[in-house]
Structure formats: structure tokens, C-alpha cells
Symmetry: C2
Subunit: 342 residues, 2 copies
């Protein structure tokens, strides 16, 4: 391994001068800089990050917190996987590396200790464990953070504009002539509010049309996977067989819901219309006609990396950044002629 001292000997300059030339800080004659950079290239010099970290306290590492408790798909989660692909790319382009933070490291070290241990410069919180008490402390630990799902005090969240999407869903179904519309949700949590926000938007939009949403038509599934959607749809439908449409908060649930509906002999959309959420590739092939909302994973990742990098650079962070979801119209929604109101 070749060091700046080797370069110093070869060029006749001192180590600090080598350092300055290589890092471009401090005043230095253009000629010296050139000489040194050439020598470094010729010698195949690679800096040693440990030494750099030790003296600067900057590791150029971004830590990632990703615990997929809700779906248990990890890297294969319909939002997280794609988001990470893009985030990784952005962050690497900025000269940082990605490293996963964990709690079972060194017999139960906290995330924050893990960060200190590695002088980590910024944290991407893709998703935490439910109700992890450590999350509350992240906003004030001094390490820049950005979250792409959960709301955490003192941390900027870059997330889909779920409320608008919920409104859009209600609008689409209402304007297609549906009157009795079910809402198939997933656990409502204030901090990780994807389901809740979609519900709020949906409900408020219906009220716009002078319709109070009847809570009977709401069914909250107890998880985010197929079977929960199947079970939830069964309950909802047995309670409210008069619905002509249902908005489901995620495609995996929608897939289960449609499975139930098909099983009891319903046709989609002739008997009942369905809108999902996520544009989950896992579901798409199986249900190519499912209308859904696509979360802009690339955009979320890109904005998250920007916010984080800015914050590392000392720029104050925004509170929350919303990214619009895009409605993907396929053919699972039936359109009725609606009589004018007056």
C-alpha cells in the first residue's frame, strides 16, 4: 500500500503538501498540484479512508435503516427495493457509500452507536421496526437523517402524497358513477401513515360531494399481504354486499381481495370495481387490468438523497417533501352513466 509519505519522497514535497494537492484544499501552485497528482496516478495511489476518517471524522458513508416488518419482503418490497436501487446510485455518484445499519451488530448496539462506531455521516430511514423507541431520538442525535416513509420528529420525510392519491381514488370512483364504495385499509398508524393518509384523502373527497362516508364501508386488514386482503374483503363484502367498488391501500391486499371476489363468483369490474396502490410488479402480471397508483420510487429516492446531502452540507432541511403518485388507469373500474345532480 502506497501512502502520501511515499508520494512525498518521490516528489520532494512534504506530506501536508501532498494532502493538499490531492484534496484540492489550501493554496498551492498549479504546478506543484499537477506534479503531485501525476505522481499519485503513476504510483496507483489510493487514499486510506480509515486514516481520513480518523482525522476528519468524515467517513463518507451513508447508513441505511431498512427493516421490513410489515411485508417481510426486505429488498423485494415493492417500494423499498426500487427506491434503494436509485438511492444507491445517487449517493454513489456523490462519492458516498451505502452501508446497512442494524441493531444486532456487536450484541445489540443501537443504530446511533453503530453510526458513531463508523463515523457515519447521514442516515436513510427506509423503514424502521414498528414503534422502535430509538426512532424518536434520531432527530436530535446530530447525524443528518432523511426518512422515506415514517414520520420522525426532527427528520425530513420524503414520501408519496398519499392524501391526494386517496382523493383521486374517490374522485375517479365517484365520477365513474359509484355510490357505495368500500375502503380496504391496512393498520392505521400515525407515524407510518400511508394507509391512514390514503383513507383521510378518500373520505374528505367523498364529503366534497356531499356524501358522509359510512364507516361500515371501512375495513382495516391486519397486515399488508395477500391473505389479509382476502380476509378483509370477505368481512367487508359480507357486511356490505351493496358496494359496487372498493379502493384498496395496496396491490398485494387488492390481489387477495380480488381472489375472494372471484371465488364468490363476482366479475371485476362488472360486479365490482377495484383500485389498488403501488403498481406492484408482483401483482401486475397476475392482475394486468388492476387500476392502481404508482409511487414514484425514483423521484422519492432522488429527492431523499438530495435532502440528505444538503443537510450534510449544512443546509437546513425541509419538514416534509411530498411526491405525487400517478394513477395508472387500466380496466378494473366500471363506468356508469351518472345522472346530473339537479
Amino acid at each position: 500500500m502506497i501512502t502520501i509519505y511515499d508520494l512525498a519522497k518521490q516528489t520532494g514535497f512534504s506530506a501536508p503538501t501532498i494532502s493538499k494537492a490531492l484534496n484540492g484544499n489550501g493554496k498551492l501552485s498549479e504546478e506543484t498540484r499537477q506534479t503531485i497528482q501525476d505522481a499519485a496516478k503513476k504510483a496507483g495511489y489510493t487514499a486510506n479512508m480509515a486514516a481520513k476518517s480518523l482525522s476528519t471524522k468524515h467517513s463518507r458513508i451513508i447508513g441505511v435503516i431498512m427493516e421490513d416488518v410489515a411485508m417481510k419482503r426486505g429488498f423485494e418490497h415493492p417500494l423499498f427495493g426500487g427506491l434503494l436501487n436509485k438511492f444507491r446510485h445517487e449517493i454513489e455518484m456523490a462519492g458516498y457509500d451505502l452501508l446497512f445499519l442494524s441493531k444486532h451488530f456487536n450484541d445489540g448496539m443501537s443504530y446511533i452507536d453503530h453510526c458513531r462506531y463508523r463515523d457515519i455521516e447521514g442516515i436513510l430511514i427506509v423503514n424502521p421496526i414498528d414503534d422502535d423507541p430509538e426512532m424518536k431520538t434520531l432527530g436530535s442525535c446530530g447525524i443528518p437523517c432523511v426518512s422515506t416513509n415514517e414520520f420522525i420528529p426532527g427528520v425530513c420525510t420524503v414520501v408519496t402524497d398519499n392524501e391526494s392519491a386517496g382523493q383521486a381514488a374517490a374522485k375517479i370512483l365517484y365520477e365513474a358513477g359509484h355510490e357505495k364504495i368500500g375502503f380496504l385499509g391496512a393498520p392505521f398508524r400515525e407515524n407510518s401513515p400511508a394507509a391512514l393518509e390514503r383513507y383521510r384523502g378518500f373520505k374528505s373527497e367523498l364529503e366534497t360531494y356531499g356524501k358522509e362516508f359510512d364507516e361500515q364501508y371501512l375495513e382495516v386488514c391486519d397486515a399488508w399481504w395477500d391473505q389479509a386482503g382476502y380476509d378483509g374483503m370477505k368481512k367487508l363484502y359480507e357486511r356490505c354486499p351493496d358496494i359496487s367498488a372498493v379502493f384498496v391501500v395496496c396491490d398485494a391486499l387488492a390481489f387477495g381481495a380480488m381472489k375472494y371476489l372471484l371465488e364468490i363468483g363476482k366479475n371485476i369490474p362488472d360486479d365490482i370495481s377495484v383500485i389498488g396502490f403501488d403498481d406492484d410488479t408482483t401483482v401486475l402480471k397476475a392482475a394486468p387490468n388492476l387500476c392502481t397508483f404508482r409511487q414514484d420510487r425514483d423521484k422519492i429516492a432522488q429527492l431523499a438523497s438530495e435532502v440528505l446531502l444538503q443537510e450534510i452540507a449544512g443546509v437546513p432541511r425541509p419538514e416534509v417533501v411530498r411526491v405525487p403518485a400517478q394513477y395508472i388507469r387500466r380496466s378494473s373500474v366500471r363506468r356508469f352513466a351518472r345522472f346530473p345532480k339537479f
Copy 2:
């Protein structure tokens, strides 16, 4: 940030003694060790990895090379994502962290330079860029490596026993009474031989039955995604409309192939039987009857981490470790009564 010097002051011992007590190396009285460990715990001491790295040259970081050129799904690749979930867990349990290696870091640094830059201790090669010349150098760069797909000189590969799976596929179809069987492949490459090995096993098994495989029945798709399967199947079927079965090297291709077959009015399995490979969840929901081979991603990840950790510990590595694929029988294969040969 609290250091060993702080601990030294507090306990009255010297820094080296603190170091020994905390790391458990060197001789030390049990009492001193206890005192120091208690003090460390009380003070909330966290070691600084940069300093450790600098003096030991050990970073406790495993680098990951994962470039999904073939499928372009990255973390969502049907094999890689699941493999990484498990590998990450195993490696963290052993006290290492995972960090992604890249080539576009610091304007085009090589993987090996990236490793030196971070004192990386071991490399998991999930998948490289096709024909990356750097791969050939990895086996002799001095950093322990393990590969989970590609064959690389001097590097242990932990990979599905593709040849046996290919044999099994041929056996299943032959024993089900099929005589004219197509093989739908993907680019054959010697170093990344999943498709090639499956073909070899398939072909050799057929020869066992005294049947020379007619190369007419082989069609190599030019990629690993749906559309390529559709196109490949079209070519194959138009050339050989007499086939009653086809073995496809991956489910994504099989999905495309089935789409074509369905479009031209064929029934699966009545008119044509299909076996895929991967047990890809993306395809499963859409084609719940597709017989396939599941690659044991957890096992591959676990063995790969074992091999790598052993190698880091100085234990000589095996050349190649094969992990059996499991046949998942569903209902896309039709069974005929076969007359005895004699």
C-alpha cells in the same frame, strides 16, 4: 465521544490495558478486565472503527458487487434480493457490515481500489457486469471473495446445482410421456453458466433414454425478461409445432412464453406442458400452476457467508459449492400414459 484514554483515566489503567480488556486478547487479570468492562459500559463507550481499521487493517466490512445487467431489477431480482436479505443477516450476526462496491465511485475507481480504500475484508460477488475484465483479477487480489453466480478463477462459487436440475426437468417430462421437448434458453455464457448448465443437464438426461437431443428444439432467447420469452417461444413453436412440452430456464421467460402460447390459443398443459425455473414470486401469482425449480436462496446465502468468513479466518476455500434446486410441482405438466419400451 469517549475514548480509551478517558477510560484509562477513570480506571487508573493504561490505554493498552483498556484495549486488551475490551478486545479480550492478551493476558489480563479477570478483575481488571471486569473493572474496565464495567467502566466502559457505564460510560457508554463505543469503539471508533476508523482508528481500529487504521491500526489493524481490518474494517469488518464486507463489500458486495451486484450489478444486475441481465434482468435490470437490482434488489428486486428474483434470486439476488432474497439472497441478499439472508446474507446481510448472516454477516451482521458475525459482526460485519455490508457495503456496496461500485465502479463509479471517486471517478471510476476499480472494485479492488474501492476495497483498499475502505480496508474491506471480504467480497461477495452476487453478480458482475458481463465480461468485466476486473473479475479475472479478483481471485488473486488478496481479498477473500465468494461468488454466488459467476465462475471466477481463484474464487469459490456457491451456486445452484443447475445441471442436476436440468436433468430432473428432462426426467420429469420424459417420464410424463413427452417425446418432443423444447428447450427455451437464455444467453449461454461459460462464466455465468446458469442457462448453459441447465441445458447440459437436460440434454444429457435425454440421451440417457437413448434420445439424441435435436438442436432444432433448442431456442436461446436473447435476454432474461418476459418479452424475450415471448419472442423465443414464437420462434421455437413456429419451427417445431410438434413439441408437447418445453423447459424454460427462468420463470420470467416462461411467463412470456406462456403468454405467446395462450395467445395462439394453446392450452397449458393440455396442448403443451411448461416447466420454468426460479419460483419467481413476480410470476407465481400470474401463473399459479407453473411447475418450476426453486433456488434455495437462503441456503446459498448462508453457505456463501460461511465460506467467506472461513476464508477471512484463513481456512482454504472449496472450489465450488452446489446447492440443490427443489422441484415445485404444480399443474403445468401433462402426464401421458407411456407404453413400455419393449
